[in-house]
C-alpha cells in the first residue's frame, strides 16, 4: 500500500511545516512518496526527502507547473495515480484547488480536511463548521484526502530519501498565472505559529490593527483576524481564521474584539489556551475562553503589551 503526498511548494520552496504535518497523518497509511512540483522544485524535493517517514521523492520541474495551476498539476497527479492507494496533501488552498479535480478525474470522492485516521479507508472530518465530527468509510479504490494540519504534529527529520526526477504531462493550457500579491512578513506563519493574536471588528480600523500587531510582535506571534475585520478592510484576507479561512491550533490564541461566531470558533477552538478580550461580557467567545477579560480593548491591549 503506497501513498502519494503532494508536498506544499511555494515558488520553489517547501512549506516544511504543512508538509511535515501531512506526512505524520499519511505515514500510518503506507510508504509515503512525496511529490514536489513547480517551475523549480529541486530544492523543495531535497528538503522533503529529509522529512521523517518519506520513503521517496518525485520531483517534477516544468514551467507549466509553476504557480500550482490546478489543471496541469492535477493532470500530472492523475498520470501517477495508478501506483497509489492514497493521494494526500495538507489542506492548504492549493490542495483544495487541486485534489477535488484529481478525484473527479479518477471517478472517486474526495475527503477534505480530514482530522483523524481510523484505518486505511475510514477517516474523521469536521462538518458544519466543526459542530459535528463525521466518521466516513470510503468505498473507492483510491482515496484522495487533504489533511487538516492543525490536528497533526509535524514529522521530524531523517537522512535524505532518494529523489527521482519526473517530467510533466501535457499542459492543457487552460489557465495562466498573472500575478501574486503576497505580503512579506517576518512574523511566523499563521498556521504554524505557537501563539496567535487575532483582532475583530471591535478593532475599528486598519490603523488600530497596529495595536494587535504590536502585541503579536511582543509575543513572537502570528496575527489573525475575523471575517468582519477582513471584510471591513482592517486586515488582509490571508489573516482570516475560521470555517472558511485558516484553521489554527496554537498553544495560545488571543482573541481581541471578536464576538465568537461559530464560523470563527471553527478555526480556533482547538487552541490549547484561549484568551478573550471583549467589552461585552455576554460575547460567546467567553464560552470557549480559558481566560476572559471584560474590558475595553483600547485600554487592555496596550497595557497587556507593556506588562508581558
Amino acid at each position: 500500500m503506497a501513498v502519494l503526498l503532494l508536498a506544499e511548494v511555494n515558488d520553489g520552496e517547501l512549506a516544511l511545516d504543512a508538509t511535515a504535518k501531512a506526512v505524520t497523518a499519511a505515514k500510518s497509511l503506507g510508504d509515503v512518496t512525496a511529490l514536489c512540483v513547480g517551475a523549480t522544485a529541486a530544492a523543495a524535493a531535497e528538503a522533503a526527502a529529509k522529512i521523517d517517514g518519506v520513503a521517496k521523492v518525485l520531483c517534477a520541474e516544468d514551467a507549466s507547473l509553476g504557480h500550482r495551476l490546478a489543471e496541469a498539476t492535477a493532470a500530472l497527479i492523475v498520470s501517477l495515480a495508478g501506483d497509489y492507494e492514497h493521494i494526500v496533501a495538507p489542506a492548504t488552498t492549493d490542495a483544495k484547488n487541486i485534489l477535488p479535480r484529481v478525484a473527479a478525474l479518477l471517478d472517486v470522492m474526495v475527503l477534505t480536511d480530514v482530522s483523524g485516521v481510523v484505518d486505511g479507508s475510514t477517516f474523521e472530518r469536521p462538518i458544519y463548521a466543526g459542530n459535528a465530527i463525521q466518521t466516513v468509510k470510503s468505498a473507492d479504490a483510491t482515496k484522495v484526502i487533504s489533511f487538516r494540519t492543525s490536528t497533526f504534529d509535524a514529522a521530524g527529520s531523517q537522512d535524505a530519501a532518494p529523489v527521482e526526477n519526473i517530467s510533466a504531462t501535457d499542459n492543457p493550457g487552460l489557465s495562466e498565472w498573472v500575478e501574486d500579491k503576497v505580503a512579506e512578513s517576518d512574523r511566523p506563519e499563521l498556521t504554524s505559529a505557537g501563539v496567535v493574536v487575532s483582532g475583530g471588528r471591535g478593532i475599528g480600523s486598519e490603523e488600530n490593527f497596529a495595536m494587535i500587531e504590536k502585541l503579536a510582535d511582543k509575543l513572537g506571534a502570528a496575527v489573525g483576524a475575523s471575517r468582519a475585520a477582513v471584510d471591513s478592510g482592517f486586515a488582509p484576507n490571508d489573516w482570516q481564521v475560521g470555517q472558511t479561512g485558516k484553521v489554527v491550533a496554537p498553544d495560545l490564541y488571543i482573541a481581541v474584539g471578536i464576538s465568537g461566531a461559530i464560523q470563527h470558533l471553527a478555526g480556533m477552538k482547538d487552541s490549547k489556551v484561549i484568551v478573550a478580550i471583549n467589552k461585552d461580557e455576554e460575547a460567546p467567545i467567553f464560552q470557549v475562553a480559558d481566560f476572559g477579560l471584560v474590558a475595553d480593548l483600547f485600554d487592555a491591549v496596550p497595557e497587556l503589551t507593556e506588562k508581558l
Binding site: 511555494n10 504557480h67 490546478a70 489543471e71 492535477a74 488552498t93 492549493d94 483544495k96 484547488n97 487541486i98 477535488p100 479535480r101 478525484a103 473527479a104 471517478d107 470522492m109 474526495v110 477534505t112 480536511d113 469536521p126 462538518i127 458544519y128 459542530n131 459535528a132 465530527i133 463525521q134 466518521t135 466516513v136 470510503s138 468505498a139 473507492d140 487552460l174 489557465s175 498565472w177 498573472v178 501574486d180 500579491k181 503576497v182 505580503a183 498556521t191 471575517r227 477582513v230 471584510d231 488582509p236 484576507n237 490571508d238 472558511t244 498553544d251 477552538k269 490549547k272 489556551v273 484561549i274 484568551v275 470557549v288 480559558d290 481566560f291 477579560l293 474590558a295 497595557e303 497587556l304
Partner: protein
C-alpha cells in the same frame, strides 16, 4: 452568454447545529434552511454580469430534496431567469456527494451550453469545497477557485483568488468554472415585488435518473459525533491577573 449557478439548500448559518443522540447525523427536521451563503454571492455575481451586459440568461440549479425549490425561488427572486430542480433524494437528511452533484451539473452544462458556471466555494453543511473543481474536471474546462474578483473579457476571464499566501490573479480560458469567495460582492435582498414575480418564473423539475447519474454515496457515514467540549474557563478581573494566569499555565 448563459450563466449557470448551482445553489444548495443548507441549514441556515445562524442555526446552532444539533448532533442526533444516536450518532446517525445532524438533526435537520424542522430546522431553518437557507441558500448556502456562498451561492448567494454566486447568484449576485451572475446578476451583476447580466446587468453589465456580459450575460444574457441566468439559470439556477439545485440538486437534492423537493424542498430545494424554495432555494430556487429565492434565486429567482434575486434575479435569475429560470431554474432547474433535480430531485435526487426524499429524506432531508440525505446529502448528495459533490461527485454525484458534479456529474449531474456536467450533464446540465452539456444540455444548456453556458459560458460560465458560478459555484460557491464551499457548502457550509458538509464543508467539502469540491463541487466546482469536480465539474471543471469532468468537463475539461478551466477552473478558478476562491474568487474575490472576476472580470470577463471576451474569450477569457481574469480572476483574483484568495489563497493562503494572499491573492493570486490568473487568466482562464472561457468557458470556465469559477467558485466564489466571501469578498466577491455583497448579495442583494430580494424585494417583495420580485418575490411575487419569481413565482411565475419557469422551474423545470427533473430527477437524477433523467441524467443517468447514480447518486449512491462513495463515503459511508459510520457515525456522527459531537466535537470534544472545552472545559469552562474563568473571567479575570484585570490585565495583571491575566498576565499572572498566563504565566501560571506556562502560556507566556
Amino acid at each position: 452568454m448563459k450563466v449557470l449557478v448551482p445553489v444548495k439548500r443548507v441549514i441556515d448559518y445562524n442555526v446552532k447545529v444539533r448532533v442526533k443522540a444516536d450518532g446517525s447525523g445532524v438533526d435537520l427536521a424542522n430546522v431553518k434552511m437557507s441558500m448556502n451563503p456562498f451561492d448567494e454571492i454566486a447568484v449576485e455575481e451572475a446578476i451583476r454580469l447580466k446587468e453589465a451586459g456580459k450575460a444574457d440568461e441566468i439559470i439556477a440549479v439545485s440538486i437534492g430534496v423537493k424542498q430545494s425549490q424554495e432555494t430556487l425561488r429565492t434565486a429567482l427572486a434575486m434575479g435569475t431567469d429560470r431554474a432547474i430542480l433535480v430531485i435526487a433524494a426524499d429524506d432531508v437528511h440525505t446529502d448528495i456527494e459533490p461527485l454525484a452533484v458534479a456529474k449531474i451539473l456536467a450533464k446540465i452544462v452539456e444540455e444548456e451550453q453556458p459560458g460560465l458556471v458560478l459555484c460557491g466555494k464551499q457548502a457550509i453543511d458538509n464543508d467539502m469545497n469540491a463541487t466546482g473543481q469536480m465539474v471543471s474536471a469532468l468537463l475539461g474546462w478551466s477552473q478558478a477557485t476562491f474568487a474575490s474578483k472576476l472580470e470577463i473579457d471576451g474569450d477569457h476571464a481574469n480572476v483574483t483568488r484568495e489563497v493562503d499566501g494572499g491573492l493570486q490573479t490568473i487568466k482562464v480560458k472561457m468557458p470556465a468554472i469559477v467558485t466564489v469567495d466571501l469578498r466577491l460582492n455583497e448579495p442583494r435582498y430580494a424585494s417583495l415585488p420580485n418575490i411575487m414575480k419569481a413565482k411565475k418564473k419557469p422551474m423545470d423539475e427533473k430527477t437524477a435518473a433523467d441524467y443517468g447519474v447514480d447518486c449512491a454515496p462513495r463515503l459511508e457515514v459510520v457515525k456522527t459525533s459531537e466535537p470534544a467540549e472545552r472545559a469552562a474557563g474563568i473571567k479575570v478581573g484585570s490585565v495583571d491577573e491575566l498576565v499572572a494566569k498566563l504565566k501560571e499555565v506556562g502560556a507566556v
